[in-house]
């Protein structure tokens, strides 16, 4: 009974995957305002860009085969373009849209018992803007060449560079719009479309995470938008606002840039943290320990995240009072993050652990996120930062936290939710092996960077001193192992989607609303809007 859904018009449709109307094929998808289809459209485009970003990363590691400058594959200019594009793609086209645009779009309405988001057409527009932005960024390749400024576009070089900074920055501007509209949509959806009985404190923690993230998207992104717009205006009209020879202030640019870009990292990490709460409860067969604290800590992280941007500028020419203030505030953000980690661990205590693939990704996350977080403390501390900033240590830090933390959970989330989205299960053994390879490759790739930075190698340099060669080689081999793991994981998931064994509505024993409906879900999610009577993660059989 649960596998067949009846739509309000009396047409028996099995799932949102089937086309039942006039539009066929691709049009039924790219013109659809169904949040589930939009989530999948995002998934396809985001992973396409991810693969491009990975290839760029591989090339950057390959470039480090020899210290150079002799024998290098790419020259300095090309290398600059490589790391710029790698950063722009990974950040603006992969991690920032990341979980919210894909799994958030798919599951937010379902988890709150709604039939769609508040503004379905705006949702589709968000996706169009995403694709357009991505294309515009790549167009810079064909005019005056990809920017060589780094994804941070620091002035005055971004104003003077002969490469097509204008086009690339305009592309990012469009992507920002996409992000803003998604955030706006999610906030309104969460406020207005919760099922009867679901107060704010009965929402799943994934929804809380998306809520906090959406606020950051709405409030912080416009500051980036104006900063990027000003680069374009400066390049076109030479008004002088970023030109030191006319009194322009490059440090002011950095302030404006990081006012967005620091909160942006919370856009990247809050949704994965929300997923962790989902996975840890499902696979411990227990309710979350300290629900309210975990919910509020998402808001606290979003809030404190606005207060710390200057820690990216400790050596840029910030005055001392600012340095002290930002360093102190940076340590504050560890508190709500710590609360989350303690509560997750407490949830697992005396739980009935089921070590399925999503749970194993969670284990990897805890290790990698901890390393990332601890190295973050080293960088947040002013005295140590002045030695490590601008080195490979920073590169290692953010890859541990964003990739090892955020993206590994994104992968874990796919392993958790793809069976719901497509009704089929992937090969779990292969999934676990892929994770193992990913984990080994990841650490081989990035741990040497922490050491390289500690030993003084600057980042974004295409040549290096011979003493760094061994670590660079280990890192390069790590990148190959990592990519092997990625290929294995992605192939396994894709194969699972199309050829996997059918799984039922609730292969994992989850308790949030999505596990009550069929896998894959019907087009309108629920035949009748459910009425909520208890908190999420309600496990009556749990041992307390």
């Amino acid at each position: 009974m649960a596998d067949v859904a009846i739509s309000p018009h009396g047409v028996a449709v099995h799932s949102y995957l089937e086309n039942t109307g006039k539009r066929r094929g691709i049009l039924a998808w790219i013109l659809s305002t169904d949040h589930k289809r939009i989530g999948i459209l995002y998934m396809i485009s985001i992973f396409t860009f991810f693969i491009v970003g990975v290839i760029l990363g591989l090339l950057m590691r390959l470039e480090m085969l020899v210290p150079g400058p002799a024998g290098k594959i790419f020259n300095a200019q090309e290398y600059n373009a490589l790391f710029t594009l790698h950063g722009v793609i990974m950040i603006f086209l992969f991690v920032i849209p990341g979980i919210p645009a894909t799994l958030g779009n798919f599951f937010l309405p379902i988890q709150i018992g709604a039939k769609d988001v508040a503004f379905p057409r705006l949702n589709l527009l968000s996706w169009y803007l995403y694709v357009t932005g991505g294309i515009v960024v790549l167009l810079s390749l064909f005019r005056n060449g990809l920017p060589d400024t780094g994804w941070t576009f620091y002035v005055p070089y971004s104003i003077r560079s002969g490469t097509d900074v204008t086009m690339a920055v305009f592309g990012v501007f469009i992507l920002g719009f996409s992000s803003i509209l998604t955030g706006l949509n999610f906030i309104t959806t969460i406020h207005r479309l919760r099922a009867p009985g679901m107060g704010f404190f009965k929402m799943p923690l994934f929804v809380w995470a998306l809520y906090a993230t959406a606020w950051v998207q709405v409030i912080a992104t416009p500051v980036l938008a104006i900063t990027l717009l000003l680069i374009i205006i400066e390049r076109l009209f030479s008004v002088g606002i970023f030109d030191p020879s006319k009194g322009g202030d490059p440090v002011l640019y950095q302030h404006m840039f990081w006012v967005y870009s620091h909160p942006a990292v919370y856009i990247m990490i809050l949704p994965p943290m929300g997923v962790v709460s989902e996975i840890v409860t499902t696979f411990s067969h227990r309710s979350i320990f300290g629900y309210k604290m975990v919910a509020m800590s998402s808001l606290a992280i979003a809030f404190i995240g606005y207060l710390v941007w200057g820690h990216h500028m400790f050596v840029a020419g910030e005055t001392q009072p600012a340095q002290f203030a930002f360093s102190l505030l940076t340590f504050l953000v560890a508190i709500p993050s710590g609360i989350k980690v303690f509560n997750w661990v407490a949830t697992m205590y005396k739980g009935s652990i089921d070590p399925q693939p999503p749970f194993l990704y969670l284990m990897a996350f805890i290790i990698l996120f901890s390393i990332g977080g601890l190295t973050g403390l080293v960088l947040g501390s002013l005295a140590t930062d002045v030695h490590l900033t601008g080195t490979y240590f920073v590169v290692g830090h953010f890859h541990y936290i964003i990739f090892g933390g955020g993206v590994f959970i994104f992968f874990g989330a796919l392993h958790y939710w793809l069976p719901k989205m497509f009704g089929r299960m992937y090969n779990k053994k292969v999934a676990n092996w892929a994770l193992g390879i990913l984990f080994v490759g990841f650490n081989a790739l990035y741990f040497p960077m922490l050491l390289l930075g500690y030993e003084g190698m600057p980042r974004r340099y295409f040549t290096y001193l011979p003493e760094y060669e061994t670590l660079q080689h280990i890192s390069m081999v790590g990148s190959w192992i990592l990519v092997l793991g990625l290929i294995m994981m992605l192939w396994n998931l894709l194969h699972g989607i199309f050829k996997g064994e059918r799984c039922g509505n609730n292969p994992w024993g989850g308790t949030t609303l999505e596990w009550r409906i069929s896998s894959p879900p019907p087009p309108e999610n629920f035949e009748e809007i459910p009425i909520i009577t208890h908190e999420p993660y309600y496990h009556p059989e749990a041992v307390n």
Binding site: S7, P8, H9, V11, Y16, E18, N19, T20, G21, K22, R23, A28, W29, L31, S32, T33, D34, R37, K115, D116, A118, F119, P120, R121, I180, G183, L184, N185, I187, T188, H191, R192, L193, V218, I219, A220, T221, P222, V223, A225, I226, T227, L229, L230, I233, F237, S238, V239, G240, I241, K246, G247, G248, D249, L252, H255, M256, V259, P523, E524
Partner: protein
């Protein structure tokens, strides 16, 4: 109405099936306004920093703007906010043509604002005070920055006025076609909110660029 899963028509039906959510629409609009506010915040931040670092230069440069035009434009925009709000008050009472009258006035006042601004800019350009001009470049840095910000901020604001006017013209058509009525005027309210924001931004631009001296 065709029964098609996942298409736009289905969603229209589906949205009505969810019943019109005016509070939700208003929320969405307000969130969008907040993004516009934060967008201009970046510019105001830049202005305050540069003014703090170049106070004397800013005062000197401020003498070159035309307070009369600025003041008139402020009155124009404030009045347009009034006619905007009266247009909504009228439709609330079912006074369709009164509403149309007030809305048209709003649009015309917006146009007047832009015309005055264009005239003002052309005066200043004639005086040689534009980005990249020899005259401007010969002045101290603070003055160059002042005018850089002047053109950027009033220019971006002007674009928003233009965008607002276009939105209002659409609203005018909706009223005329009875798509906005006494029982469903949320679109007009939301358009009005946008227009008021544009007014508020000017309320702050005015003293910063015209009343320094």
């Amino acid at each position: 109405m065709s029964e098609i899963a996942g298409t736009i028509e289905e969603t229209e039906d589906h949205a009505k099936h969810l019943h019109r959510d005016e509070k939700g629409a208003k929320m969405g609009m307000w969130l969008f306004l907040l993004t516009e506010l934060l967008l201009f915040t970046g510019l105001f931040l830049m202005y305050s920093v540069y003014r703090y670092l170049n106070t004397a230069d800013f005062h000197r440069a401020g003498l070159e703007t035309h307070p009369l035009f600025g003041t008139v434009n402020t009155m124009v925009l404030l009045t347009s906010s009034l006619t905007m709000v009266l247009s909504i008050a009228a439709i609330q009472r079912g006074r369709k043509w009164l509403s149309v009258g007030f809305l048209s006035s709003t649009i015309l006042l917006g146009l007047a604002f832009l015309v005055i601004k264009l005239f003002e800019w052309s005066l200043e350009i004639e005086e040689g005070l534009f980005p990249g001009s020899q005259i401007l470049l010969s002045k101290p840095n603070g003055e160059i920055l002042f005018f850089g910000l002047y053109y950027t901020m009033t220019g971006l604001h002007g674009l928003h006025v233009l965008a607002g006017m276009i939105v209002l013209i659409f609203m005018l058509v909706f009223i005329l076609r009875n798509k906005i009525t006494k029982d469903d005027y949320i679109k007009l309210e939301n358009a009005g909110l946008y227009w008021h924001l544009v007014d508020i931004i000017w309320i702050f631009l005015f003293p910063l660029f015209y009343l320094i001296n």
